[in-house]
Amino acid sequence: MAKKSSASNAYSREFLEKIFRTAHKIRVFETEGIKLYRQGLIRGYFHPYLGQEGIATGVCAALSEGDYIASTHRGHGHCIAWGADVKKMVAELLQKDTGYCKGYGGSMHIADISVGNLGANGIVGAGTPLGVGAALANQIRGSDAVTVTFSTDGATNNGTFLESLNLAAIWNLNYVLVVENNQYAVSTPIEESTREPDLYKRGLGIGVESHQVDGNDPLAVYEIMRQAVETCRKGKGPVLIEAKTFRHMGHHVNDPGKYMPEDRLTYYKQRDPVDRARKALKDMSDISDGEIDAIEAEIAAEFEAAVEFSKNSGEVSIEDFRAFAADY
């Protein structure tokens, strides 16, 4: 992965470009994906990551090959930031046999264990123990790999949050729990779910190094995550990071999100993580507007090609499905 250069706040153009590419690619995937959904090409559930792109982008930039991630129901952004193939993602959403899960999983279950992606998850809070388990497996095999669970504010009120983070703590696992605090558990605001909305404090109570970061700032997320990874590789994990953010829309595509106050939405949109990634790239490197346009055009073309590829793909046959069932 690209590394930050020596002077603080001085990033290489390559690194800044990678941050922007990732954040923007997630934005395009979700924006275009919603269009496909509205056209009826994507069925089932689609939980957009719009507005939260900075977190997956910053976190994954601090990880290396061999590390592991576990994700949530809102998982497209994590997959993309982890380097997933957009073609196979779109194909999965379109139920095709060329998708990551051959159409057996769908949006909420994209996984690729061959590269350490333990998968999205339809059960809020479930990624926490699964991630801790992967960290435990790595400790047992003597690997210094770090496992990250992307989790949510909603999940912090689930019992698995305490149970798993506590296990990671007593076993000193190389584990980072990233709580994406988008301030809504489906439609229930954080203030109604807990008396202490600063969620990082939960980790402190069980002896876990814990931090809070602006989740809409990809570089700030990257910096805190880089430190967390270092802490882990020194054997001093786990680490909890609370990344504050806000969704740009409701819980899923069909949820208008009318319960989200306009002023707060405006506040966060003014701090849009993709805009900030673009601005950082422009301000801190010699890239030209034309070159940025070219990156955007390239990503748009990649998505279009993925849709074309998916439309031309087939589906698992009933015969193959029955054979799978007989062996299950």
Partner: protein, 329 residues
């Protein structure tokens, strides 16, 4: 002994594969409530044999996650009753991961636990919950009745790639029996004839095997020859062995300690009537626990699950049915 056979299986597999590890409550220093893991901490160290806090959802989930990531965990849960705290991890994660990943993701996860009545440990420590797991596609359900089966099946469980609910019985840990020397592995889906007979097929598992064998011995004295068969694994189920035996004896009695409603006995009965209806000389009998939580009072506890006289009576009813139909002809 049953518990020693289990220990041997874990010991041998830990020696064979560095990715096998075991976690649970009080299993390391203390050696487990049933002494199954005694000595393993000294032999394999605290990296691979570790105690957990009382956090079943967490420990089952961590086991499932470790399995997905390629390790071979055994999670020991003190009582099957406590596994209810981790059902999301078992039902929604472990059982479904292979399908959700289109077949690529595997979960070589073994949950060892124990169930059943015995000794007045009351409603929350006495259940037979195998039907819950049996119902969920993707889980293997194993219920050994003898030391040899316990060892052979546990070794196989630790080598295959699907989540296994390995359900021991609290009354069996001290039972004795021969265990074959050397590498002893029993594949899933292969039942065992525990006693050969010709008049009635008696299908049972776990602690209902010794009880059924006692009943069969008593019936033999009365001239009734009972074949006692033990599927050993409920998922996968050795349908062939059951159907072969039933086609020979023409009668079937199924005995389960679990309560009757929605139980595995009912499912086996439906398989028999579908596949062997024309072979039957009498309706299939089911002997099962009452549809009520297990009471503490020892007399009532005993009354809540099948006892030897219940099994004997069911076999006789089965034979009697035949006499009725013969008389009617």
């Amino acid at each position: 002994m049953y518990r020693e056979a289990l220990r041997e299986a874990i010991d041998e597999e830990m020696a064979r594969n560095d990715l096998v590890f075991i976690i649970g409550e009080g299993i390391a220093e203390r050696g487990g409530s049933y002494k199954v893991t005694e000595g393993l901490l000294d032999k394999y160290g605290s990296l691979r044999v570790r105690d957990t806090p009382i956090a079943e959802a967490g420990m089952i989930g961590v086991g499932v996650g470790a399995a997905i990531a390629g390790a071979r965990p055994i999670v020991e849960i003190l009582y099957v009753d406590f596994a209810m705290l981790g059902m999301d991890m078992i039902v929604n994660q472990a059982a479904k991961f292979r399908l959700m990943t289109g077949g690529d993701g595997r979960v070589p996860f073994v949950m060892r636990t124990q169930g059943g009545t015995g000794g007045g440990v009351a409603a929350q420590h006495s259940q037979s919950l195998e039907a819950l797991f049996y119902h969920i596609p993707g889980l293997k359900v194993v219920m050994p009745s003898t030391p040899a089966d316990a060892k052979g099946l546990l070794k196989y469980a630790m080598r295959q790639d699907d989540p296994v609910m390995f359900l021991e019985h609290k009354h069996l840990y001290m039972t004795k029996g021969m265990v074959p020397d050397g590498e002893h592995i029993i594949e899933f889906g292969k039942g065992d004839i525990k006693r050969s007979g010709t008049d009635v097929t008696l299908i049972a598992w776990s602690n209902m095997i010794p009880r059924s064998l006692e009943a069969a011995a008593e019936l033999a004295e009365q001239g009734i020859s009972v074949e006692v068969i033990d599927p050993r694994t409920l998922v996968p189920l050795d349908r062939e062995m059951i159907l072969q035996s039933v086609s020979k004896t023409k009668r079937a009695v199924i005995v389960q300690e679990a309560n009757r409603r929605g139980g595995i006995a009912s499912d086996i009965a439906s398989i028999i009537q579908e596949e062997a209806f024309w072979d039957l000389d009498a309706p299939v009998e089911i002997v099962a626990g009452l549809d009520i939580p297990v009471p503490f009072n020892l007399t009532l506890e005993a009354a809540s699950v099948p006892q030897k006289p219940d099994i004997v009576a069911a076999v006789k009813r089965c034979i009697h049915q035949d006499n009725y139909s013969a008389a009617a002809e």
